[in-house]
Amino acid sequence: MATILAVLIDGIIYASWLFVIAAGLTMIYGVMRILNMAHGSLYALGAYAAASLAGTWLARGYPPLGSYAMLVLAAILVGLVVGPAIERGLLRFTYGRDEVVLVLVTYALFLILEDLVKLVWGVESYFVSEPYGLLGNVDIGPLSYPVYSGALVLVAAAAGLGLHLAIRRTRYGKLLTAVIHDREVSAALGIDVNRVFLVTFTLGTMLAAVGGALTAPTVSVVPGMGVEVIVLAFAVVVIGGLGSVGGAALGAIIVGLVRSASVHFLPEVELFSIYLVMALVLAFRPRGLFVAAEARKI
């Protein structure tokens, strides 16, 4: 009984973390039709920046609770600086090219960013675990969990709700929806598609960075953390359907629970089991669970 509960709770915690990252990935695809292979690196950048900022804060002896603000600040900074830099500095020149070409471009970016991280932060691992334990633990039945994990779940839920409302209710959200449906028609209607792209990519980057920043206190921040993430995030996004934020949420929950079950019962097959589930979903719904209708081609 306790194990089932553990699987469920671990699954939800894991799903929250996955959702924040996958939401950004799926949004960027939905709006820009680019599968950002470098998304994992953006996550890593967020983690490293958070580790540095929070680590320095704590080392200087400032109030420990402020380290949380540092984590968030790091993510926002990465989002606001790196996002536009990549979009304006590189991606902008590749719009309109074949989808495969775009994948190659983000793949090349991935390679560059992975090394850039090593150049800036070196190859040793970073541990900034204080924020993780600072809020203490909470007991759920026979199990004990850090309050921090609960905060993570709340952040993910808030992000999900926020995105949902933003897309449905705000003017920007409506522009986004228009561009998702048809870029050319949107442009013809006078929508500044380039601006929408810039904002979307920056938002996506920030979400990835937030995922990284919030994860930083729970793991050792090492080079190569980016590629694990892209492989997982991709599975989530595929299960949910490329371009659907709601799908990313559902996909995250499914992958989170599968991973949690695997870790508790058969850890060696962790990644394998996630992809097995993905293959099963694809067998019945080749384009994922939530997918937009396709226009007639012939």
């Binding site: 599968l35 020149f93 074949d98 989808e99 495969v100 793949y107 560059i112 992975e114 090394d115």
Partner: protein
């Protein structure tokens, strides 16, 4: 890819290389051998790109080839290197036959990402496996290479010869395949899959077959690399290894048969230099060069990757 005259030229170069072998410095011979082996993997990737697919996970088959050869030497106690290369190719092809059941249904980004994921799953399995030496891997030491003892400079030359032989065979088979009715379906699938289906052929089967062939080539390349280096480790399956294959493939295009091998050689040369002087900048160099090629090379190179309508039913 036109074989004929260029192929003969290549053969001549290989023969010259073999004859000059004893005179070449060891490191050049070594780089040449590894370039030929990796070039084989790139050749397979070019076949896939001709079918309209970019695989970011050829490292999977490269590693399978290497580990198959290694296990043959280590666990099965095979003595000779030649059957090890064959085993590498066959093992990789077998895995591709299975993986292809899922992979052949997908295109463009799905295909690219799935192939990446599979190679990383295998990487994870290798790293977690203490029996296979985990991140350290293990040594590969055959006793003979054909009729020559594996140890010493003559052994090294023999491995080079084996690599050249594998390349010539691989390139020849590929050339004949692409000129055949089956091989001609590859660019057709890339250009207009719907049309292919409407002419009674299965695009999925074409992709599946090409996946298996590309895997066999990569597997052979992996086995030869394992023999040349004398060691295997999970790095062969890591995503950056696959990335290098993609990079060389993009650079070389389908203009000539020799291009993938020359490109590979250049890459190996550059890598050796980069690791000497600036170990943490290698990916930046590869990534940056890739971007430069993509952004500045004329559209012509991208006819390799252009895609068209797909049947939705």
């Amino acid at each position: 890819m036109k074989l004929a005259r260029r192929g003969l030229l290549f053969l001549a170069v290989a023969l010259v290389g073999l004859l000059a072998g004893p005179l070449l410095p060891k490191w050049v011979l070594f780089l040449a051998t590894v370039s030929l082996a990796k070039g084989l993997a790139v050749l397979g990737l070019l076949l896939l790109m001709r079918t309209g697919l970019v695989s970011f996970g050829q490292g999977l088959y490269f590693a399978i080839g290497g580990y198959a050869a290694g296990l043959a030497a280590d666990a099965l106690h095979w003595g000779d290197a030649v059957p090890m290369v064959l085993l590498g190719a066959v093992a990789a092809a077998a895995v591709a036959a299975v993986v292809g059941l899922l992979l052949a249904r997908y295109r463009t980004i799905f295909f690219a990402m799935l192939s990446l994921a599979f190679s990383m799953i295998f990487y994870g399995l290798l790293v977690k496996s203490s029996a296979l030496g985990s991140t350290d891997g293990f040594n590969v030491a055959p006793r003979t290479v054909g009729l020559v003892a594996a140890a010493g400079p003559r052994g090294q030359l023999a491995v080079f010869g084996l690599a050249a032989l594998a390349v010539i065979l691989g390139a020849f088979v590929l050339d004949r395949y692409l000129a055949s009715h089956l091989g001609r379906l590859a660019p057709a699938v890339r250009d207009n899959e719907l049309r292919v289906e409407y002419m009674g052929a299965s695009a999925r089967n074409v992709v599946h077959l090409n996946l298996v062939m590309a895997a066999a080539l990569a597997g052979a390349g992996g086995a030869v690399t394992a023999l040349a280096v004398g060691h295997i480790d999970p790095q062969m399956a890591y995503w950056t290894t696959s990335g290098e294959f993609v990079f060389v493939a993009i650079l070389s295009g389908t203009a000539s048969v020799a291009a993938p091998f020359l490109g590979s050689f250049l890459l190996e040369l550059l890598r050796t230099l980069a690791y000497e002087y600036a170990p943490n900048t290698w990916q930046v160099v590869v990534g940056g060069a890739m971007l430069a090629v993509i952004l500045f090379l004329p559209e012509g190179l991208w006819t390799l990757l252009r895609r068209r309508a797909r049947p939705s039913g």
